[in-house]
């Protein structure tokens, strides 16, 4: 179910003209704007719904503030490429064109959710969009990314795997092992380090010996495309295009996106994120480096007044998200034992089913 499909075909054409970086067209920029306001609206609505206990649970990590990082980089992909990320995954799903209704339903644990209510906020995925999912164990998805890229390499395809990883996760063993493996096996992974300054409450400087995170690539013999101002979608796109072109010939690449989380780490950590120095810092990011405003300024400086179109995108975003909330709230919750057990295994004669459900879980 593609909602407002991103015009990937056009982008492929542009990005494969022989030059890595093609100047994005007006339509592309407007589409990025559409994606970014949709994400912001979706995330802020999630935040509100959580406050009102209409979304429940303990984990809800929002992408507000990060929009340009995902939008600019995924614009450099073509439809057959792959994407994988951690738990801060709502924006990634939206950019790839997942149906906001299915996403919102997943937030509420409904049957109509993209993962049938089993996964929740941290586990969005869509096979139809080559979106291999959000994952909740820090670093756990990184070797999966290498494995997904291995399939392309193994079968002689030139699809790349774009992988988002937090600054904090770069200090985890998974990161080192996965990057190294991608280097020795020549795997087409673009490792995008989303450096938002913190892993929960720990500043990068207190967690990593090498504070220029992209330089970790050197340790594995991987090419780094440097540090990017990831509040500026155009810069993100320019660098991602180069990295994608490079990775397409079976080589891993690293990019560091410098960004900021507007809503703290997640809903369970509000207390800490309310720290005074952090809110001052946040204010500064919002005032000076707001990604939606930066993009808007870019568009307007080049194409003059597009206020009407942008306002339309904003209104559409509000309508789409409101519809997704209504859809999610009207949807049914999974509630039976069958719902609980389904898909523990692929259906198989080998799965032993006993009378009182122990060892069951077949569909």
């Amino acid at each position: 179910m593609v909602y407002f499909p991103t015009d990937m075909d056009k982008q492929i054409a542009l990005a494969t003209e022989g030059k890595a970086m093609v100047p994005p067209s007006k339509e592309m920029l407007l589409d990025w704007y559409r994606q970014m306001v949709l994400i912001r609206e979706f995330e802020e609505t999630c935040h509100q719904l959580y406050e009102e206990k209409r979304i429940t649970g303990v984990y809800l990590h929002l992408y507000s503030g990060h929009e340009a990082s995902g939008v600019g980089s995924m614009a450099a992909l073509r439809v057959t490429d792959h994407v994988i990320t951690a738990y801060r995954d709502h924006g990634i799903g939206l950019i790839l064109g997942m149906d906001p209704k299915a996403l919102m339903a997943e937030m509420m644990g409904k049957k109509t959710g993209s993962s049938g209510g089993k996964g929740g906020s941290m586990h969005l995925a869509s096979k139809d969009h080559n979106f291999w999912g959000g994952y909740a164990i820090v670093g756990g998805h990184l070797p999966l990314a290498a494995g997904i890229a291995l399939e392309a390499r193994y079968r002689g395809k030139d699809d790349v795997t774009m992988t988002y990883v937090g600054d904090g996760a770069t200090n985890n063993g998974y990161f080192h092992e996965s990057l190294n493996m991608s280097a020795i096996w020549d795997l087409p992974v673009i490792w995008i380090i989303e450096n938002n300054g913190y892993g929960m409450g720990t500043e990068v400087e207190r967690a990593s010996g090498q504070v220029e995170l992209h330089r970790k690539a050197e340790a594995y013999g991987i090419k780094s495309f440097g540090r990017v101002d990831a509040q500026n979608a155009l810069e993100v796109y320019a660098v991602a295009s180069k990295a994608v072109e490079y990775a397409r010939s079976n080589r891993p690449a690293v990019i560091e996106h410098v960004t900021y989380r507007y809503r703290g780490h997640g809903v369970s950590d509000k207390q800490y994120d309310a720290r005074d120095d952090m809110s001052a810092e946040l204010r500064e990011w919002i005032e000076k480096r707001e990604p939606i405003k930066i993009l808007r300024d870019c568009i307007e400086s080049k194409y003059g007044d597009v206020g009407e179109i942008l306002a339309q995108h904003q209104a559409d975003a509000q309508r789409i998200v409101a519809e997704s909330v209504a859809f999610a709230e009207a949807s049914e919750m999974p509630s039976s034992y069958e719902d609980l057990l389904r898909n523990t295994y692929v259906a198989s004669d080998l799965v032993h089913k006993t009378d009182d459900s122990v060892g069951a879980g077949i569909d």
Binding site: G120, H123, G139, R206
Partner: protein, 328 residues
């Protein structure tokens, strides 16, 4: 003796803090233990009180947390290393099972590893499959390490102190659901109040059925016992407190009296605590057995996000009552 209700998190904080004052070699390390004041607020105020040397934030590097604690302990310190939640201790399983639990053995006593791993455990609140484990029995599988799992504040206090003072490595789990739960602690509690490692406790006496549990399972067992009492059934609740060493003698004593047993645990049913207790009972208590031994555990499934089916999967007091009624 006057007593005051204290949340389990406060009892743990107090034990840890007192042990740090008592012994300069005791220090804490883990993710967010210092500046963030502890993910579960157990180490709140520690950074200010003890400073960065003894309250050490780590990166998100579980393998290293697990292994650094072993090295530091071998060298003579007494680390208390925190896994933010026990789900992340899986990343450190090698350090725990192959190093903490074995350095003494494979060098035939040359070294010891007097460390404590603290880990918040359990499931609920839609934390989703990878964040919803109560895998204490997995860690208790390995000889060379002790495993302690308190069910109330006073036990947590005395068990943690004993763990820190012991020369063996201990994995100490703290049920997230019990952190805020108040239970009585005597006002004039002695700083040296220790609960011996491997000693279980009778949390309620009764002659009709033995309910064996630990940690959060004790809550469900006690809830079931109250419900059963209304129907005239008196359940005895045995809180084993430690999964290793395991106080089977206490279970046998109770079982000789009741001849019936239901085992309650928060963890998964296969290769489990329940299986271990039941196997021991049938080997040693066969002649006293009047009914099949029942087990109440989580459903055999990864835990889903969605609220209703999550609750379906979890054990609770009613499931314990139902199991008891089947064998009366």
């Amino acid at each position: 003796m006057a007593a005051r209700n204290v949340a389990m998190r406060e009892a743990i904080r107090r034990a840890l803090r007192e042990e740090m004052h008592r012994d300069e070699n005791v220090f804490v390390m883990g993710e967010e233990v210092a500046y963030w004041q502890g993910t579960h607020r157990v180490t709140r105020g520690f950074l200010e009180e003890f400073g960065e040397r003894r309250v050490r934030d780590t990166p998100i590097s579980e393998m290293a947390i697990g292994g650094v604690a072993v090295g530091a302990a071998m060298a003579g310190l007494r680390p208390v290393a925190e896994f933010m939640t026990i789900n992340f201790a899986f990343l450190a399983l090698d350090a725990i099972a192959n190093h903490a639990a074995k350095v003494r053995y494979f060098f035939d006593g040359m070294f010891k590893a007097p460390l404590v791993y603290r880990a918040a455990s359990g499931w609920g609140n839609q934390a989703t499959a990878s964040h919803s484990h109560a895998p204490e029995p997995i860690f208790a599988h390995f000889p060379g390490i002790f495993v302690g799992c308190p069910s109330n504040s006073l036990d947590a206090y005395g068990m943690l102190k004993a763990s820190i003072r012991d020369d063996n490595p201990v994995l100490f789990t703290e049920s997230i659901a019990l952190y805020p739960k108040p239970s009585p602690m005597p006002d004039d509690l002695d700083d040296d109040y220790l609960i011996p490692i491997g000693k279980g406790d009778i949390k309620r006496e009764g002659g009709d059925v033995t309910l064996v549990a630990y940690a959060r399972g004790v809550d469900w067992a006690l809830g079931a016992a109250r419900q059963l009492a209304r129907d005239g059934v008196e359940a005895e609740v045995v809180d084993l407190r430690w999964l290793r060493p395991l106080d089977m003698e206490l279970v046998y004593k109770s079982f000789k009296k009741t001849n019936r047993c239901v085992i309650v645990e928060e963890s998964l049913p296969m290769y489990s605590f329940g299986g271990e207790i039941a196997a021991n009972l049938q080997e040693r208590m066969f002649d006293y057995m009047d009914a099949p031994i029942k087990r109440v555990a989580a459903e055999d499934v990864p835990l889903p996000y969605s609220k209703d089916i999550e609750l379906l999967a979890l054990p609770n007091a009613q499931k314990v009552v139902d199991a008891v009624k089947e064998i009366l």
